[in-house]
Amino acid sequence: MTTSLKRLLEQEAARTDIPPAPVDAVVTGGRARVRRWRVVCVAAAAAAAVLSIAIPIGLTQGDSDNQPVEPPEKHGWRQMDGPWTDLRSIHFGAATVARPPGWNVEVLTSTRDSALYTTPINNGATYRLYEVRPDESVHAIGSDVIGTPFADPAGSYVAWQEKAAGEIVVYDTSRGSELARQSVGGDAYVIAVDGDTVTYADADQTYTWRPGHDPEWIDPSILNRGTVTDVDADLRLVSSLGGPGDSYVVDSVGRGALTLPGQVYGEFDPSGRYLALTRLTGPELEVADRFVRAVDTTEDTELTGYDGEIVQMSWDPSGSLVLGTVKHSDTIVNPDDAMSFFACDPATGDCELIDGSTTTVDEAPLPANFDTYLQLAWSLS
């Protein structure tokens, strides 16, 4: 019977009218899907900007009833020292510069020396990368940038990929000059910058590269067919994505520090002691849960004191977990949905609403180190 059934199916399939392939519609629709994902990501970034505003207002200036200001440490988090932006300006430390009129700030990150932001060019096909220095001067340091530039907020390196050149570029903000280039071809993308080391991958391999030295490829057997999604010192988060295996934290020689069952990605906190993790499930890789795990004890921290659906987890430079939550009725996050931000102690899981952080999802830059989520969102959507 099955032979006959196969014949039936093939004959029926052959009767299908085949109109011309809707290439333009597919590309347009695909771009829209990418943008929709970006709305979610951008919303979280908006919160980071709000957070950076709210904390100085709430803690260093006191509340409206003039109660004494509590030391930030009591809340488990401190003033963000990263860059932030409002509708008109970009702020970094004491420096304030005007936002580029008419352009979205797509990515906003920093080194210890400079703030860095991108604006789209060529109808969003590539980006231009700008550096904001403490003297309030703005310098275009990269053009033809694709993907997301990565920087180490505690270091001085920023790395990005240039499309036409097929190179990864490393720029040293402490010198104000380009440091090195590495030819990588068109498939490569930056994963992380940690100190003086850039981690990047192409279609075949994952590499660590210290400018001035040859890139070293990471033995695939160490990665166990997973994908490096974050790096902290000698620890690597290796995520199983789209496959049946588990995810791991491994050291530089592949010794397992932590096993994370299933498809998990996430981000190390600045100390490398905690991971903010998102577990994906099912063939469509839907978000199953988000959790915080201590690397050394493998204990999870239960997050309490927040409401809404967590759509983003990130770390601020001081080591507080920042949750972005949305209350929405639709299955996707919309630009006008209300979004709130909570600061959480990764040790206790206690979360507090950040005063004044509730806003709507709107155009805003991506915060530092949110890029992995974005990369994965693109790849998994």
């Binding site: 019977m1 099955t2 006959s4 059934l5 196969k6 014949r7 039936l8 199916l9 093939e10 004959q11 029926e12 399939a13 052959a14 009767r15 299908t16 009218d17 085949i18 109109p19 392939a21 809707p22 290439v23 519609a25 597919v26 590309v27 629709g29 695909g30 771009r31 829209a32 899907r33 990418v34 994902w37 096909a125 694709i146 499309k163 068109g186 498939d187 993308y189 279609a203 099912g282 063939p283 469509e284 693109w378 790849s379 998994l380 959507s381």
Partner: protein, 176 residues
């Protein structure tokens, strides 16, 4: 974002026909099949940078087609309305039915979506039980049982002699 839209466009052009045929067997309708494949390809656009070769893209799109199909069956009212009683294919009425929609598609519409997907993947796409299980997100045992149930139902609906049904379907008349 795809690094090479031209390459992606070439892929869409090349793979559109076979994917549309598979989707039509799943959905039973041309328009719905086009929607299904277009949706899957849009998702493929977002994933294109990670899909190194056409083979990888094919697997990704096939998986997306199946999952989207099953998802639509869960979420949307479906334009296909299963018949309470299935007409015997070798009656005169069957030829009228064939003029509107093939006997096979009507029979497939009687199957639950996962059984239908299992039949299409196993016997049209020639996927193994293991590959089908991977696409459907279930065990190989479940694929076997789903397929077995589907074949039993198709046998009831189409009769033991499927070759006869083929002739009914494409000649528009019974040769008996």
């Amino acid at each position: 974002m795809p690094r090479d839209i031209a390459e992606f466009s070439e892929y869409v052009t090349l793979r559109w026909p076979p994917m549309l045929r598979t989707a039509r067997l799943l959905t039973g309708e041309h328009a719905l099949a086009e929607d299904l494949v277009q949706t899957a390809l849009e998702r493929c656009f977002a994933a294109w940078p990670r899909l190194r070769a056409y083979e990888a893209a094919d697997a990704y799109v096939r998986r997306t087609i199946v999952n989207t199909y099953l998802s639509w069956r869960r979420k949307r009212s479906w334009s296909e309305v299963p018949r309470d009683q299935f007409a015997d294919v070798v009656t005169a009425d069957a030829t009228e039915l064939v003029s509107q929609r093939s006997v096979l598609l009507v029979a497939l519409a009687e199957l639950p979506p996962r059984q239908r997907a299992a039949v299409v993947l196993r016997f049209y796409e020639d996927l193994s039980v293991q590959q089908t299980a991977g696409l459907l997100g279930c065990s190989t045992g479940t694929v076997k049982s789903q397929t077995s149930e589907a074949l039993a139902k198709l046998r009831d609906l189409l009769g033991d002699d499927l070759d006869e049904a083929v002739e009914v379907e494409y000649d528009g008349r019974s040769r008996r």
